[in-house]
Symmetry: D2
Subunit: 425 residues, 4 copies
């Protein structure tokens, strides 16, 4: 067989030809050799092969049973990265830390080897002699070749690369003309790598999700190129402490309590821990984490927040929150939460969810920010809703409605990949 | 001035003649000298007088701003209890423990004295020689006299008395005829005190809410007498750990995680702590607390639960929960929560909310269980919804819709504002 | 090679001929196929082979560097159990749960096979037709044969079998004559299995440690047989919550604070969790756990304590404690602790410590309860000291002094096993 | 009667002429209007008057019953501060926050007024035109006048003023000559205020304790002036999280476990919270807090530590610690602690303890750092011992031995204050 990942019979969590009639879908990961990406790849292979239930996936629940989306066995994975550790080796090392089940990694070994063959060198700002415009075209070409190679109706690009320091503002972020000129200047390097990746997604006509807090698609001149062309969603996966906060904060509001302070400390090791030990890199993360809290509770909540790199904890992130609220007649209410989980195990299923849901959006011709996907992000694009229950309601409504439209739309043409590539031009 | 509680100018949280046009409303508390009741009385007086903001009240938030309900200054409090500690003394002792602010208790002293004059002896099963039917009529007469004395358009009875042991089942609970006969037999004592109180509410045509897990209105023959006559809501106030659980559990479900165990321990002292130290009394409480969890997560969640009497903690209840869930590829997620608050300070504002909302229900002629009030209870009557966000949505929808109906309905017939004002002199 | 476990070169944690001159030592485990025992066996093999450092072992620290004790490579393991799961299979299943490192279990596989060959059927009360006296002799013979087979200078019996329900008191527990008679009556079954095991240790002249809260050696007629014959220590390994309590309680006392309540909840699954789910079995455990607290803080501390069986947690025990103390001018101090660890991983190194230290005691002819070993137990025999720091000081002092005596004593005769068996008669 | 505080009959915690034969003792507080100082003053008055038991005092326990020390009713309080809030007002405001019992503050009101009369303006670096030498002499004169006014045998100066930023190093800190010259130069301001206060203690011949992490007495040229003249002890009161850490860390060591990380977060409001919100001021505090941990566990423990200013928590400090250790065969042990208490209520009794114990030291002619008082400090002077249990043992031994010497020494001359003033020159 010539395809990369189609090793499985149809399973519960697998394809359902009757409903999703647009064939296999590409998931192109920026940071494809990282912890989240490797976990997503192992998971897609395991779920696609019916070796594990789809626990942890938002799209696998009963609420979305009737929404037409590609099955887990219909996802084909490729991506960019700037390191060269082979995917199977990375997966094994994640098994050695106790995060991934060793048997599962062994069982999907062949699939990982095939996926590894789909990975291409990413873009490093300042490295090499290509102009940033050339870099965008190189990355886009990788994605288009991947699409053609596997005859994919849709490709969804998800950025799960290392969190970048926030770039200083510059004119090229606001003036389309200036940006266009800078992109073709081999001496200029005005955009961060995350923006180059976002532009490559746009150029290749792929749907796009930003799982990191990096600037990428939030740069106005980048964002303008995306509007009207692709569906996109972001930003910064909502997985642990922030998820919990957007679940809990609305409770205080509904009960008329006044939250006075919400302090938090995050401990983690692993690659992300090391990256965030850099005070520059952590800044964007911290800003992203507190935004929702202030939106939900007001700006006068005192909310000190820390992320500490604690190498011996590995990928297990432990977060302690201390909430102090005022209740009836000034009475004090105190809530402490301690959340502890393998961070990448929380993130990976959401990456698969995004691939499925953005395929659906793409299949119905949706473009622009998809506010209903805000439930997946700390900093939801196109939406001010942070309350998790409200976001869940919005997601279900959107999925039902969009699914209905997709079901009644014509199936993808057999030469769809060709057509789409044309459309992406 | 000769009225009981009208000591205040209209405040934000106070009356709004333009919208609520049915005058003052009675709040009749079963267990009126208890910790929750005393706190509710102090709070109603303080809020009515504009001495404290309505923090902790569900009905005071912006979502219900336009719903016509009696102001806090329009609540007149009376009730039954079986002890005789004067309300002002009880309030002072709650201030001494650090729960109630001492200045506030001092400031509302006169109001407490007036309220104390509205309290009447309750019913103790087995004590005295009255038949249970006579007891029902005596209690109902107390409520009717209170209503007439203050020319109240509506009275809401709220049971905040001590949690009873669950009674053994008996034929009189199912057969109306048998019950009717037993009620008139001075030698028989078939109903628990909570049912006598519920029947008195029904007899007096008052709305009724059950803030305890006691059997009262859940006895089929009692419940049948309420249907079609009064609006009612229950059961067992959802204030601390259980509130938190019904906020958190839906998060796991929405994210496709599988909760395996949810263990809990509650520590508290005070009157409620002492009552629940009795293994018989605690049984109904524990059953009530776990019901929602199983409804939300399924019956195979392992959920050991304890309530310990720890006298030195007084009314501060501290609850520790340990949740263990399975996520992506079998990965473990652990969440611990520690909640700590003065229990009565959480309960009292909800009692006031119930008085306001059941007045509204009564004003629109609603009878039977009001499912939309399920948000206030561990064990919601007339509803299977336990998820707090969904309950909040349902409450807001019901309040908006019922408020609309109330606003367009004629003002109370039997007690025109003229008559009522005269009577209040 | 004819010996069971001597697979390793001398290591740091290994033998040191210059100091310990009495050769290899037997560790005979009651409950030898259980979780603690299997972990101890894997650990002894791994440490003996220099495959793992002696982390978690009390005797491996710098404070005891100069005390002559058998090296980990000088321990030979055997034991009794009533199940038949082969030790290598049990170890593998403990690796599958993530508790034991899989590579380590694989690396010591041959040693486990050899150890498995040293295991013999234990005693089950009421099963079979042997009198209890015959059972004692059978078990003692197993131990003596083990000693001869391996030419061991000393054998230490450690009871790590399932916690028993506490037996009802009876005359045979107090009257030596009555017990002797009952032991020879095939129809009588007066002693619990833990006592039969203790008597077998005594009969075989082995040192003995009781790691469980079972009645065994605390029965007066059993204990009298041990006095003057063997060194022994107990009872109920102090590993998690109780360890923490005896570390923390003295802090409050030293600072003049008055602890008012100390509430605790333990969650665990695994074999021990299932055993303790039995309300009978858990009673002895709970009593044992609270004894130290009351000894340290007085009897008026309110100390509710729970152990819940939560299967999905496996052998990871999580304990939450909530301490409330009164400080200066009646001020409140609150401390919460959450302890989480693989229970057997805490217990197993102490079992090895006890083997080493009781060998030392035996080598110096010590008999009776050894109070200085109280640091290992929730309920220390021969001592009222529960404060962990004081116990540690006492252990160090005893080990230094006894070590000195052992070093100056004559080495064990080459035919020592013969001599000792004589002594055991 | 003409004395300031002798309002009480002898109580248990009061004077015992038979043992302490040197009369009343002065406690001179630097920062005398602060939270800790005010609490200490209220406490000394309450304990001296027998209005409260000596809960929270290290010296009141049974272990020190026979050590001759001044009774709480023999302490006379004075001090320096740079604010002017009257002590009774400060005490009332601490009662309003719920920290001090309001009745107690009312009961000792007269004593607070008398104490307030003993307070003098402190030294503010850079303010005024006096040289630093003049400032030292002014402050010393205040202390000497206080001693004479009350005919005190001993005065103990305790620095409980605001934590200072750490000063940059300079030559005057090392060269006695240079310092002497700078002190007399009105244009120079080389020493921080804490050092001026320490020099005033030395000049006045008073014993001295440093309850803050400020540089004061640690400056070599300052310290050299103290040696051989006065007994002194420091530094930075060990009251909450750090106390707990030095209790817990030795447990891990004794059990052979290897602590890998120990992360901490402190939340507090109040005056100290505001001070420590300054990143400069907090630096010395953080350094001081982590020193003990590294001493106990080695330098490779990863120990991120935060102090956050959370105003709504007031003086209640809440500290969360997360400890991760490696046990047997590499197994993970996790311990979390949450400590919550009114910080000043922990500190104040220790200030009284230091007054009593340094009086005793002074009474036996002790000079230099008193290592046995290290138990009270995060950063013990003259000692490397941080383990709390070992420190407690050392304190008890020193107190017993010094007490014995004091008891056998001649009682203080009636004109002792005169003599001492001479000695202080
Ligand atoms: N729960 C979660 O794990 C979670 C939640 C929200 C956001 N995130 C974000 O997801 C991202 C990935 O996390 P991770 O734990 O996998 O981190 P990781 O360090 O394991 O992986 C990041 C990968 O990105 C690659 N990379 C770096 N620069 C690149 C570039 N210019 N182009 C292509 N690849 C590049 C790295 O080589 C690495 O393989 C982080 O930004 C993190 O903040 C994770
Ligand atoms: N957060 C909360 O406080 C909360 C939440 C849910 C439910 N509840 C329930 O509210 C109830 C009241 O709690 P509390 O803390 O005020 O307890 P409490 O013990 O302070 O008060 C109970 C009062 O009921 C009175 N009483 C007892 N039997 C009576 C009878 N037959 N008729 C009339 N009065 C009677 C008692 O005399 C007492 O004054 C309890 O059942 C409790 O379980 C409280
Ligand atoms: N941290 C700890 O793990 C810890 C601490 C203190 C005490 N303990 C005690 O150690 C004991 C063992 O714990 P575990 O986790 O290994 O339990 P487990 O259930 O895994 O093992 C107990 C073993 O004892 C065997 N057994 C039962 N009855 C027996 C008999 N009559 N004779 C011989 N063997 C018998 C069982 O077959 C089983 O193999 C328990 O009593 C437990 O309470 C453990
Ligand atoms: N548990 C504890 O409370 C604890 C533990 C260890 C150390 N400490 C230390 O004790 C000190 C006092 O804490 P607090 O809570 O009372 O703080 P606070 O802010 O309430 O009081 C400090 C007082 O010092 C005064 N002051 C400032 N500069 C001065 C100067 N140059 N001379 C004289 N007085 C001066 C201030 O005016 C204020 O009245 C702090 O340094 C704190 O770090 C407290
Ligand atoms: Na947004
Ligand atoms: Na004992």
């Amino acid at each position: 067989m010539d395809t990369a990942l189609s090793t499985s019979p149809a399973t519960d969590a697998g394809s359902d030809g009757a409903r999703w009639n647009r064939g296999r879908v590409g998931l192109w990961l920026i940071g494809a050799r990282g912890s989240v990406a490797t976990t997503a790849a192992v998971g897609a292979l395991a779920l696609g092969a019916g070796r594990a239930p789809a626990t942890g996936c938002t799209t696998a629940g009963p609420a979305m049973r009737d929404v037409p989306m590609p099955g887990f066995d219909q996802l084909v994975i490729g991506g960019h990265d700037v390191t060269t550790t082979p995917l199977p080796a990375r997966a094994r090392s994640l098994a050695d830390t106790g995060m991934l089940p060793a048997e599962l990694v062994a069982a999907v070994h062949d699939g990982l080897v095939r996926t590894d063959a789909e990975l291409r060198p990413g873009y490093v700002a300042g490295a090499g002699r290509e102009s940033q415009g050339e870099a965008v075209r190189r990355l886009a070409a990788d994605i288009l070749a991947f699409r053609e190679r596997h005859l994919l109706a849709h490709v969804v690009v998800v950025d799960v690369s290392s969190t970048e320091p926030l770039p200083a503002d510059r004119l090229e972020f606001h003036d389309d003309e200036l940006l266009a000129r800078a992109l073709e200047d081999p001496a200029a390097s005005v955009l961060p790598a995350s923006a180059i990746a976002a532009l490559a997604a746009i150029e290749s006509g792929s749907a796009y999700a930003c799982f990191t807090p990096s600037a990428g698609m939030t740069i106005p001149t980048v964002r303008r190129r995306a509007e009207g062309r692709i569906p996109f969603a972001g930003q910064d996966g909502k997985t642990g402490e922030t998820l919990l906060r957007t679940v809990l904060a609305p409770m205080f509001t509904a009960r008329g309590m006044r939250v006075r302070s919400w302090a938090g400390t995050n401990l983690l090791g692993g690659g992300d821990g090391a990256t965030l030990a850099d005070p520059e890199a952590v800044r964007s993360k911290l800003a992203s984490k507190n935004r929702g809290l202030n939106r939900l509770l007001g700006d006068d909540v005192v909310a000190p927040l820390h992320i500490d790199n604690v190498p011996d904890l590995g990928d297990v992130k432990t977060a302690w929150d201390h909430v102090s609220a005022e209740g009836f007649l000034g009475s004090r209410i105190t809530l402490q939460t301690t959340w502890s989980a393998h961070d990448s195990m929380l993130a990976a299923p959401l990456v698969l969810d995004l691939a499925r849901l953005l395929s659906l959006a793409d299949a119905t011709g949706t473009t622009g920010a998809v506010p209903a996907l805000g439930v997946f992000f700390k900093d939801p694009w196109g939406s001010d809703v942070h309350a998790f229950a409200d976001q869940t309601t919005a997601l279900h409504a959107w999925a039902a409605e969009t699914g209905m439209r997709a079901a009644t739309a014509a199936p993808a043409e057999s030469a769809s990949s060709e057509l789409r590539i044309g459309a992406a031009r």
